[in-house]
């Protein structure tokens, strides 16, 4: 690890996933997946529910331990990291959940400012200024002093994105960020993710079935089923001219949703 423990930039792939296996009891959820993600790349993961895509995302953050293989994020092997190393990986990796998981007992501002204050030791006034700035960029500056229960789903997800961005991550992981939202709120959240990508240009992995979004933002898309990669291609090719019959049927199914 680099001095201070921060994720350091390597010339190779930013994320490297090597022959990863993961089971829950006798149920195999990830069955030998390998792929790389380059710096600045946006990868879209799709697949039927229960295919292992969300689990894979959580494994990349060390929230789930894998049974075999390696997950290397910014030079740190998450699968074998000590709890301090893991903490450093998490500090530079933002995770956005399907159900937002905001802290209900804190105001929106505090939700965003707490991590920089307590983890990085940033002065409270600086962290709050940063939080106001981030709320501005996700389009809800007026909600700073509200508690999360007063926000709509779309607003909650935007706060969750701002909360992750406050740690200035090098990698953002989105776990079905719009699937718990009403259709009209989905677009506002996708817009924010697009904006984050345009402004920060950070590496992203997005689990989503939003084809329009995937085609316009993602560099690559991947179909996962039964814990294995079915097809992997540049996003446009993947959705418009898939090679595999399984991918064709899957894309057809989500178009008809």
């Amino acid at each position: 690890m680099a001095a201070g423990g921060a994720i350091h930039m390597t010339s190779g792939p930013f994320v490297s996933i090597r022959d990863v296996h993961k089971s829950y009891g006798s149920l195999k959820v990830i069955n030998g997946i390998s792929f790389d993600i380059a710096q600045g790349e946006v990868l879209v993961l799709c697949g039927p529910s229960g295919c292992g895509k969300s689990t894979l995302l959580r494994c990349m953050n060390g929230l789930e331990r894998i049974d075999g293989g390696d997950i290397i994020v910014g030079g740190v092997n998450v699968a074998r990291a000590s709890s301090e190393e893991l903490q450093h990986v998490r500090m530079s990796t933002g995770l956005v959940f399907q159900n937002f998981n905001l802290f209900p007992h804190m105001t929106v501002l505090r939700n965003i400012a707490l991590a920089p204050i307590k983890i990085k030791g940033m002065p409270a006034s600086d962290a709050e200024a940063l939080a106001h700035l981030l709320l501005e960029s996700v389009g809800i500056p007026e909600k700073a002093d509200e508690f999360p229960f007063r926000l709509s789903g779309g607003q909650r997800q935007r706060v969750a994105i701002a909360r992750a961005l406050a740690m200035e991550p090098k990698l953002m992981l989105f776990d079905e960020p719009t699937s718990a939202l009403d259709p009209e709120m989905r677009e506002e959240v996708l817009q924010v993710i697009r904006h984050v990508h345009d402004v920060h240009g950070m590496t992203m992995v997005v689990v989503t079935h939003e084809i329009g979004f995937a085609k316009s933002v993602a560099s690559r898309a991947m179909l996962v089923e039964s814990g294995k990669i079915v097809e992997e291609a540049p996003a446009r090719t993947f959705f418009e001219h898939p090679k595999e019959e399984r991918t064709r049927r899957f894309v057809q199914a989500i178009v008809n949703e």
């Binding site: 953050n61 929230l63 709890s83 903490q87 450093h88 998490r90 500090m91 990796t93 933002g94 995770l95 959940f97 159900n99 937002f100 998981n101 905001l102 802290f103 209900p104 007992h105 804190m106 707490l114 991590a115 307590k118 983890i119 508690f147 999360p148 229960f149 909650r156 909360r163 992750a164 740690m167």
Partner: protein, 223 residues
Amino acid sequence: MSSYTFQFGILADYGPYLAGGLWHAWITSLPSIIFATVIGVGLASMQISHQRLLRTASILFVDLFRTLPVVVLLIWIHYVLPILSGVSFSPTTSSIIALSLNGAALACEAFRGGIEAIPNTQSQAAQSLGFSKIQVFRYITLPQAAFATLPALTNVHITIIKNVTVTVLIAVPEVMFRAQELTVQFFRPLELYTGAAVLYVALIWGYTVLMRSLEKLQKWQPI
């Protein structure tokens, strides 16, 4: 119906003396409530720790003091412990020790329930930001669990106050002790014990109102 004629005049004369027992009930129960709550938080955090030794120690403590009847515990601390250890306590101190130990076991269970009521996704969200396990407990789990625990904790505190009445056995001069004392003197048990009942109900009801106002301090709602 009995032919007993109530003469509440005794309460006009000795009511203030009887009510004075409430002060002793309060200075016995309040420290017990504080100790029980603080020790209870400690025991509950030991139980969710990853150190097996801490978990086991906490479980043993809780099982012991939850199963020991308060009367047995009180008599043991006041009469047996001094013989074994050579250290003896005043009736009030013995009572506070017994009620704190019993209350801590009950409070631990209340806190554990409150902590378990916080969804796991909360600590995952915090961990994903880079918070350490201790920080997650301090900033995310505990503040939410505190409010989730309040109603159950109020019950524990009420139990502690009610248990003060058993201290009559070692002559703490609280309300029941004084009611007994006056009964022996004036043979008016029905009036005196009715008076004692009213006084305890008033004390515990007042405490309940206080705790309910704490619940109102929660400005947020779970989502």
